[in-house]
């Protein structure tokens, strides 16, 4: 029974981590046209396990994508310099959407594991009922 409760805690931590990642992805997508915006990256790591507590998964520190910001030629833009260029954001929509889809799939898998543990627990408790 305690294994099943640990299972639910683990799956819940996985879902929390994936939804944090999805939040950062939506932040990137919202800022795709913001000049000078650097794409935010978040990675997962295992939290240290304690006695009687499983090693949950959590999101690590938020980092910036260090790749070059693209130079956009638009002389009419108020941010443009003498040569008519300004720096855009380094967000790639295709990458972000692929990332969002992966987060969604992983979230669903965690949800399925949570549901299975819940059903196993309730089946176990049904033994007491009759």
């Amino acid at each position: 029974m305690s294994d099943l409760l640990h299972t639910m805690a683990l799956s819940a931590s996985g879902m929390k981590a994936q939804s944090t990642r999805l939040r950062h992805v939506s932040e990137n997508i919202a800022n795709v046209d913001t000049p000078g915006f650097r794409r935010k990256l978040v990675s997962f790591e295992a939290a240290p396990a304690g006695i009687g507590r499983p090693a949950l998964v959590e999101t690590g520190r938020v980092r910036f994508d260090r790749s070059e910001l693209p130079l956009i030629h638009d002389p009419g833009n108020p941010l443009a310099d003498e040569s008519g260029n300004y720096r855009g954001s380094n967000v790639d929509l295709v990458v972000e959407i692929a990332d969002a889809r992966q987060a969604q799939r992983s979230y669903e898998a965690n949800l399925k594991m949570f549901d299975q543990a819940r059903q196993m627990t309730s089946n176990l408790l049904d033994l007491l009922r009759n």
Partner: protein, 133 residues
């Protein structure tokens, strides 16, 4: 009294083993996108059973002989999850295969249901034996 019956003990062992496997599977699924994570797994119940009843002496592994010993009171104690050594790794060092985990989850779900069904049947047989339905 119930714990002395071999069939009930085995059903308990199978249910406990399924729960321990479920924890390992959930850990793998939760870490499916963690870089450098190594997949963990448990041996199946058949090998655990073979080790528990091997040669009648049950000599391999440590045995709890007193109630105060750690792990006494039940046999078939599931082993701790171990890192699966020969799993293929993704470029980021993660070795979890989501398809494999889902398959394991379906398998252990079946094991757990079977264990509970066996337990329920055994208790209903006992109830019939003491005159109740």
């Amino acid at each position: 009294m119930f714990a002395d019956l071999e069939i009930v003990r085995m059903a308990q062992g199978l249910a406990r083993h399924a729960a321990a496997r479920q924890e390992a599977v959930a850990r793998n699924v939760a870490n499916v996108n963690t870089p450098g994570y190594k997949q963990v797994g448990l041996p199946d119940f058949a090998s655990l059973h073979a080790r528990t009843v091997s040669s009648g002496s049950e000599a391999s592994g440590m045995r709890a002989t007193r109630a105060a010993h750690l792990g006494a009171g039940h046999d078939y104690a599931p082993p701790a999850p171990r890192v699966v050594a020969d799993a293929r790794q993704a470029p980021n060092g993660n070795s979890v295969s989501l398809e494999g985990e889902i398959m394991k989850a379906a398998e252990l779900r079946r094991d757990h249901d079977m264990a509970l069904a066996i337990y329920r049947t055994a208790t209903s047989v006992l109830r019939a034996g003491i005159g109740r339905r």
